[in-house]
């Protein structure tokens, strides 16, 4: 942490201000847990129930991409206890020694209710399942407007179809953007061969004139308002979009997709390890998992949810509860290494600057 040295003076003064701002001495007894999660990723009611039952106050901060979360955790500017990163980012945090092994004796609900197949899939980024408990999972596919898209949507190829110029929304994140041309080429989404990656980048550059915008969270709103005819969307968002705009449908291209898993982890320098375990285990309790599932729309690895879910339409939804074939033989992102990470990001930056 040599980096921090020259900030010493700044930090000391900031800490002094911070300490002064943190309220009276009485607060010392108050139980807290600092949670850092995706935007709008936990039902607010669930947090209220947790505080009521345990007396532990939850302080929740939100991030919008794994890449923007990482620097804040790595720099240690704020001490979070629990974070909810995705697969490859869990691996990066493990590799850089930023998270600690979980104590599964304190995670009864996790052991009991999280499906075995998800722990198995999670082994690709968390060998031995020591560090993370799966929270949500899903795939990436194309949401399209049935009234405007006349061609069958079964391949990533349609995103290069000039008929739909200006009607295509792409994800603004290096891994998700590169995944699509890589899959079209029949390659792995964890590809590290620089020639193959250059080819994938060239395809994205070629596609750029057809793209309406590169988006992250805005994709939901834009597709609900029929602002575009198709967009690359995470399955959970697809549940919400298709529910609110009946013209929209969701398809997973035949070339394959990314099966992603977001999981709860506890940071290395967590101050409230006990509370962090309580929080994670609470999230795995069936009645709580159902609440979060209804709120989010993202598929859950919690095996108890299907039986507790009351809405028949959701129960029958192939997007919310996909058949096992969907994720059979599909890949999950792996953390490649710092150089490769940077390489991917640069390739993507150049597409956007082009």
């Amino acid at each position: 942490m040599n980096k921090l040295k020259i900030f010493a003076l700044l930090l000391v003064s900031l800490l002094a201000f911070g300490a002064a701002g943190c309220g009276g001495v009485g607060d010392k007894d108050k139980q807290v847990v600092y949670v850092y999660s995706w935007g709008d990723y936990v039902d607010p009611e669930v947090l209220r129930i947790f505080e009521k039952e345990t007396g532990i106050h939850v302080i929740l901060d939100e991030f919008d991409t794994n890449e923007s979360m990482y620097p804040r955790v790595a720099e240690g500017a704020v001490h979070y206890d629990v974070i909810c990163p995705s697969d490859y980012m869990v691996q990066k945090l493990i590799n850089n020694d930023l998270i600690q092994p979980l104590d599964f004796t304190k995670l009864e609900n996790a052991k009991k209710y999280i499906g075995e197949e998800f722990f198995k899939q999670a082994e690709t980024f968390d060998p031995g399942n020591k560090y993370s408990v799966p929270y949500c999972w899903g795939t990436v596919g194309i949401v399209y407007d049935k009234t405007k898209v006349t061609d069958p949507v079964d391949s990533w190829n349609i995103l290069w179809n000039e008929k739909y110029a200006g009607q295509i929304l792409m994800q603004d994140s290096a891994r998700d953007a590169m995944m699509i041309p890589l899959k079209l080429m029949g390659k792995s989404l964890n590809e590290t061969d620089k020639d193959v990656l250059a080819e994938a980048q060239a395809m994205l550059k070629k596609q750029k004139p057809l793209v309406q915008a590169y988006v992250i969270d805005e994709v939901k709103e834009k597709l609900i308002n029929s602002e575009a005819s198709m967009g690359v969307v995470f399955s959970g968002d697809a549940v919400i979009i298709t529910a609110q705009n009946p013209n929209m449908d969701f398809a997973i291209p035949k070339e394959g997709t990314n099966v992603w898993i977001d999981g709860w982890v506890i940071t290395k320098d967590a101050q409230n390890v006990e509370n962090a375990h309580k929080f994670i285990d609470f999230m795995c309790r069936p009645d709580i998992a159902v609440k979060n599932f209804d709120y989010l729309g993202y598929s859950t690895p919690n095996t108890a949810v299907y039986d507790l879910e009351e809405d028949e339409a959701v129960k029958n939804s192939p997007i919310a509860f996909p058949s096992p074939e969907v994720y059979k033989n599909q890949e999950t992102y792996k953390y490649l290494n710092n150089q490769m990470d940077e390489y991917y990001n640069n390739l993507w930056m150049q597409v956007k600057v082009d």
């Binding site: 003064s13 990482y70 309406q212 915008a213 600057v353």
Partner: protein, 274 residues
Amino acid sequence: MFNHGTRNLLLTPFLIWAGLFIFIPLVCIVWYGITDYDENFSLINMGLIFERGYLDALKLSIWLALISTVICLLLSYPLCLILTERQRDNSTIISLLFILPLWMNSLLSTMAWQTILEGNGIINQILRLFGLPALQMINTEGAIVLGMVYNFLPYMVLPLYITLTKIDKRILEAARDLGANSWQTFVRVILPLSLPGAISGITMVFIPALTTFVISALLGGGKLLLIGNIIEQEFTFQYDWHVGCALSVILMIFIVLNMILTTYFDKSHEEEDF
């Protein structure tokens, strides 16, 4: 007004503030900008501006900032001239209308422009109502310029308005008495006298327009990256402080250049006066 000791005492809070939050961060930025990952002196990150197409982004930023500054200037002059000539009551209302948008968060007003310009936005809905073809407005350079002009126009209007009100009316009357028509009065008298206001207006519009990343992110759809967006992404996504700081230093060079140019014009104009 104050003796030496009191003056120093009163200055201390600002000096501490400036030291902690202006000087030290600036030193840090330059330090990161001219070092590599092993903290050795290196200009390799500065050199990146010539690679990866970043130079194009810088050129685009300068170009769009220039266009917006010129548009702001062209819009402000007539407006301010009318304001100074009007009755006091009227001008208060008009100037209030220009300052009012400043009370609203610029992020929100830029997002409002999104809904106005979108494919299914307000303008296109009106066009469709009359059977006219829809326009592609959002995610273009034009949309970014529009956002810049909208956000930064008050910063041009205010200094210009203040210098124009300070011009002695008798000078204008003298110009007319001596036979100058309106155009000649404007070019020969008002323009030179209002130049200081225009110059500070130019600086106050050009610099935020050059460095913005919010406007281009919201109205450019992530397809048009300005140098500000690249710096932001270097810090947030790439987690590369060295490159981010190096690019910031380069951008600062352009800002300083801009300031040197404007003070030069300001000076040469003052010399003319005497």
